[in-house]
């Protein structure tokens, strides 16, 4: 008799044989069912984007720091504010304005003025040009004269500058990136012969507007002694040091772009945590052999400090794998007839034919070349050393594998060579991460071009592809990157001694 319980016991633990295609379908369906976001933002890829975001923020901060080199003088404390790009905004508060022939004391107080051209000087005349829209506030008491002028309505935080003026005429007022520092120097060194001030006074609005060629002649602006300590501090803090040949003052502005090609020797590591795969892996190891690899790409390099550089770019990597498997091609049964001549005691000769059968197996070696292609994002930090006409740097970073794809034939668990396209789900295009270390040897060719050679090693941290058979593989490589590097900012001096 068979009870419900017996039926339950029998069927509950009974294991039915399952077709292999079910698992293959599961793998394929799993890939399809994952949403685009899930597929895309895997752990490693998410890490990459966080890293990329941080890198972007860092670079943005560095670039912002570069752009802040213009001098800002806080008008709230009566300081001279000047931005030395195309549009210059300057707030100068004048309190007193006076001039003497050789030693001049100038006390000037401006309410507010906007300038769109840098300070200029010629023939010992320093000028501040004011454009059509320039306005000057609270300057109705400002009268250009060789006497003291005192404003009764000026800001209490006044800028006062007193200095002896040297007999030095200068024409070398710098514009653009030159900071107020140089302007101040030039002004302070200027020799005042005359001054002009053409300001239209607006009595109603208490504003003075400069006309097209309305020029402040601040030729007697001696600024060596700056009364306001804050101003002095700000001036020097924001001042770009003058560039001298052979110095590295502009290291932070150095931008390079480099193109490279890198032959690689690739080492493949296949491993599994499951001892059941040992025999298969051993055979697989004898069948598959890495031949070579190559990377081609471009990188941008940016100075972070005197010796520190950050590099980032994009590269295409291709590794070639050779598979060689001896496969049975033909099996034949051959009948072999051996004829022997036997002589008996009586001297009779007898011919004896022995028939035997032999199995003849023909093998053929199947050779295939597989390609493992990747798009990668190399990011590294470099520390440079200098010698005359030569530089070297030590670099370390990581390479993010953005995407990879595999083509060719693989050694299957059935011990046959199988086209990868026929086995969907075996390899997955996913993100991998490798550590990267290199030494760059750089030789300048000209002011803006350099040639370099960079031996490197990359160590794979994550498996760029996973295998449904339960084993993993990693690709480590040593290579030599060679290429040309071009400086993007030609206005700045080279980091090498010439």
């Amino acid at each position: 008799m068979l009870s419900d319980k017996e039926i339950k016991d029998k069927l509950n633990n009974y294991s039915s044989p399952v077709s292999e295609r079910v698992w293959q379908n599961i793998v394929v369906e799993q890939q399809k069912n994952k949403s685009i976001i899930q597929n895309y933002f895997t752990g490693a890829r998410l890490s990459f984007f966080v890293g990329l975001l941080l890198t972007t923020v860092t670079l943005g901060y560095i670039i912002k720091q570069q752009s802040n080199r213009s001098v800002n003088l806080a008008n709230s404390s009566g300081l001279l504010t000047q931005k030395t790009n195309q549009n210059i905004t300057q707030n100068i508060f004048f309190n007193n304005y006076s001039k003497q022939n050789k030693e001049l004391e100038q006390k000037v107080a401006f309410g507010e003025s906007k300038l769109n051209s840098p300070l200029t000087s010629s023939n010992g005349v320093s000028k501040i040009k004011i454009d059509k829209n320039a306005t000057v506030k609270n300057t109705n008491q400002l009268i250009p004269n060789n006497k003291f002028y005192t404003s009764s309505s000026v800001n209490t935080n006044v800028y006062t500058a007193t200095e002896s003026i040297n007999n030095n005429t200068t024409d070398n007022y710098k514009s653009g990136n030159d900071s107020y520092h140089s302007t101040v120097d030039n002004i302070s060194n200027s020799n005042l012969h005359s001054e002009e001030l053409n300001i239209q006074e607006n009595n109603q609005s208490n504003l003075i507007k400069g006309t097209t060629e309305k020029v402040f002649l601040l030729t007697t602006l001696p600024l060596a002694k700056i009364a306001n300590q804050k101003l002095s501090y700000k001036l020097y803090q924001n001042t770009e040091p003058l560039e001298c040949p052979g110095e590295y003052s502009s290291y932070k502005k150095n931008w390079y772009v480099e193109g490279f090609i890198a032959p690689e020797y690739v080492m493949k590591k296949v491993y599994s945590n499951n001892p059941a795969n040992d025999a298969y892996l051993s055979k697989k190891d004898s069948v598959e052999k890495m031949v070579a690899g190559i990377s081609i790409g471009a990188k941008f390099t940016r100075g972070l400090s005197k010796n520190l550089y950050i590099k980032g770019g994009l590269q295409y990597n291709q590794m070639i794998e050779k598979t060689s498997l001896m496969m049975e091609k033909e099996r034949k049964e051959i009948t072999v007839i051996t004829i022997n001549t036997v002589t008996d005691i009586n001297g009779n000769t007898v011919t004896v034919a022995d028939t035997s059968k032999q199995l003849q197996i023909t093998y053929a070696r199947s050779v295939n070349y597989n390609s493992i292609k990747s798009i990668e994002l190399p990011i590294s930090l470099g520390y440079e050393f200098y010698r005359k006409n030569f530089r070297a740097s030590v670099n370390a970073g990581f390479i993010v594998n953005l995407s990879s794809w595999y083509s060719g034939k693989i050694f299957d668990t059935s011990y046959q060579m199988v086209n990868i396209k026929e086995r969907p789900g075996i390899y997955k295009q996913n993100v991998g991460l490798s550590l990267y270390g290199s030494i760059s040897l750089i030789k300048p060719l000209s002011e803006s071009a350099e040639i370099f050679a960079e031996p490197y090693f990359r160590y794979s941290l994550t498996n760029p592809k996973y295998n449904a058979y339960g084993f993993k593989q990693k690709f480590n490589a040593v290579g030599l990157s060679m290429g040309l590097r071009f400086k993007l900012n030609k206005n700045y001096s080279s980091r090498t001694f010439n």
Partner: protein, 171 residues
């Protein structure tokens, strides 16, 4: 292995599949009409297992959890087919609890169960093998518990007849 599956580790998923696929395929075979349908159910069930494995709270048997997912997948498929469960009188129930032929192998038994009409088969599987009560079956299949009972009676009766026929052939 389960934690590996939670991490969506393909190796662990494969290991889990290898460990449970046979038993789960038996479950699917019990509910499916044919082999192809059983494979589809197994495939769908494992996809659900892999995508929901993080919800497993490590309380009780993992195999039982997977089995429930398989059964639910099968029931979902059944609900799509809109099987009509006919009701039988309560008095007819209690008769058939035992089947005469006890030397039946698992495969034969599976074959006999799969030959039952679909409604009978589902109730029989749920009650006898998977251990659900009639109330639970009623909720799962959105039928009355009495309908479930009647279906079970019919299923038992038919199964007994089939076993008897098999016995005659064997003799």
């Amino acid at each position: 292995m389960i934690k590996g599956c939670i991490r969506q580790d393909a190796t662990c998923q494969r290991l889990l599949y290898e460990q449970l696929s046979g038993k789960m395929f038996t479950v699917c075979l019990r509910y499916a009409n044919d082999l192809m349908e059983a494979e589809d159910l197994l495939q769908e069930g494992f996809i659900r297992v892999f995508s929901n494995v993080h919800q497993f709270k490590f309380e009780g048997s993992f195999e039982g959890w997977v089995r429930r997912i398989m059964v639910n997948s099968a029931l979902k498929c059944i609900q799509k087919k809109k099987i009509i469960f006919s009701e039988l009188k309560e008095s007819a129930a209690a008769t058939y609890h035992y089947y005469t032929y006890s030397n039946l192998g698992e495969e034969e038994l599976l074959k006999l169960i799969s030959q039952l009409p679909h409604g009978y088969k589902v109730v029989f599987n749920l009650y006898v093998i998977d251990g659900y009560s009639h109330d639970e079956i009623g909720q799962m299949l959105q039928i009355q518990p009495s309908t479930s009972r009647s279906q079970l009676v019919k299923a038992r009766k038919m199964l007994q007849q089939q076993i008897l026929q098999l016995e005659k052939i064997a003799v």
